[in-house]
Subunit: 407 residues, 2 copies
Amino acid sequence: MVDRLRGNLVVGQSGGPTAVINSSLQGVIEEAKRHPEIQGIYGMLNGIQGALDENMIDLRKQPPATIRGLSSTPSAALGSCRYKIAPEEYTKILGVLKAHNIRYFFYIGGNDSMDTSSKISKVAEKDGYELRVIGVPKTIDNDLESTDHCPGYGSVARWVAISTMEAGLDSTAMWAFDKVKVIELMGRDTGWITAATTLGKCSEEDPPHLTYLPEVPLIHDKFIEDVRGVCDKLGFCVVTVCEGLKNENGAPLVESKRAVDTDAFGHTQLGGVADYLSGLAGSKLNLKARFDKPGTIQRVSMTTTSKVDLKEAYAVGQAAVKQATKGETDMMVTLIRAPGKVYRCTTGLVALEKVANVTKSVPRNFINKEGNGMTGEYREYAIPLIGEPLPKYVKVKKLLVPKKMNA
Amino acid sequence: MVDRLRGNLVVGQSGGPTAVINSSLQGVIEEAKRHPEIQGIYGMLNGIQGALDENMIDLRKQPPATIRGLSSTPSAALGSCRYKIAPEEYTKILGVLKAHNIRYFFYIGGNDSMDTSSKISKVAEKDGYELRVIGVPKTIDNDLESTDHCPGYGSVARWVAISTMEAGLDSTAMWAFDKVKVIELMGRDTGWITAATTLGKCSEEDPPHLTYLPEVPLIHDKFIEDVRGVCDKLGFCVVTVCEGLKNENGAPLVESKRAVDTDAFGHTQLGGVADYLSGLAGSKLNLKARFDKPGTIQRVSMTTTSKVDLKEAYAVGQAAVKQATKGETDMMVTLIRAPGKVYRCTTGLVALEKVANVTKSVPRNFINKEGNGMTGEYREYAIPLIGEPLPKYVKVKKLLVPKKMNA
């Protein structure tokens, strides 16, 4: 049993918002209140920038209804950031933490945030300042190493699965007129979100007919032939694509040329892939083509939140506090899937360094041989994460009335 | 009391699918089953094209679960179309209707479909063939004349209101990084859908900060200054725009140049407005800008269906059959809002000719003076249509921890 470390706690949210990141925040706050050694519970405004600028708010003073309401509120309630800390700024941050007797530091975010957390942990250690640093996983991208999946993914996956079923029914009704529809999903380097568009697909005829992930380079001619093949067979084609699709040289298919669209980590804003590919298919095949690009709506929608995801997002926040009070530091909470047929996850820990800046791609066995769809292995992995069964939509039977005119 | 007209019924769905068009179909089918003079209940496959090609299915033979499931299934279960009938084809259609002893013709659609219905009614009348033709209003665009609103609008309005609240919270969290977000909504000529993005807005600070409708020409310099003004004040800006925005000359801001993208009615595919305007604001103001374009997802989403809309969509289908069996023809069912504080709608009738090809724009008093937002009058009109109250999301209070370093 370690000595109880008395002091204040600070928590921050970082990177792209999600439907459930506030559940993790709620988990941290509610668990912290159970530990008497944790005195002040502070929130950094706009992630690490709030620590740097000493902009922190008092979370103990929030009305109870606000804390309770966090789990039904999307986006990042404390504000988020994409700020890359300069080496000299870590000392400044440590100064702020020390000045406020912060002994517990929780950062809810993705792999960039785990890098930031890891560095803060190191600078405190070097200084001899006892600080418990725990990373709380969050990313719709589902690309963190050493965790079965990431809170945020189940909800975006559910949203894109249902939205693709619905936009697919739209195309099915309009097949004679809108021939090609391309739907663009988020994902800088990995196709996890795009993969989830297939979760409502029950047969070969069901949309999406083609699904392309950045894990497999997109060959233009192959793409055109794929679309032509589906249109020849079904009369129309619904394609789902990742904004981060790469060409044969590994370069993004489309990216912004404006310097202002590059963030602090050097990531250029992507997007435009669906516009480009629908245009390409439309021109090459002389078919009417359109695209949907739900953009940020997909990542923060509470309308189709996965209950499993909500629960797990809370649990990882809670686990972070529990582990820190037990003496753990320099770690990220993970989700570990229990073996067996019934889905169950427990939490674990991994060294921050191991996840910092590492990206977990969709494994090749989750993608079909052709590189244009997903496999049953992916389905098995993902279905439990999206919570309740997907809606069942009816199809009328084509019970034709016998022809009298053209019989 | 008119004589009971014995014979078969045919129903079709036309134009862009919606979340509730199948409820209208269900209303037609279930009401038809109550009238013994209606024998066969047929569905045209892909709208009027199904009548032209004699592709009709038997709706009495569908499993009861399929008919019941229609109201929870989006898009158009019978398939839809955007087919403009050539004058000589009307005679062919009449031939099919006569061959199948069709005496009841119901067409669920927008103003193009009412034009088609009106012409079918005329050609039957001229031929002396007794045919009861009733149009059932359907359009997310909400642009039909002589009806308070159109089934389909309430649900798309609810979807865009919630999605804008959520994407707005996303921008609020990311304000320091993603400065400008432009969300593009559907609407060829009218801004009804875009207007609904403001329904979750409770204060000036809440997104969307600017809303542009095609009813007011977009002046480029004014747009840039509007965005600059909001960014100067709030640090970021969320803009909602209609795909059909017009410039000072009344021409679409952006439209496809490909001939394949023009439909049978001469409508060119729109879209690209948000891409264009986010690029414009980004370059001119040197700010990071992005766009969301949910596209067809917005019009067929069942995740946020308005219960009022669902109920009314069923009611207009039902009313069509009731009126036809009473002897009415050449009419479209309308929704009439009862005066008084509590929202209530009844159904009425209007001559098909009066609504055919006519577009109802958003009235000027629903749009603010500046032309960049909506008024209380619009809110009063639209709030009852979206059903249950919008979700309430919490905001943390900015109860700052006193500074110690930079105090």
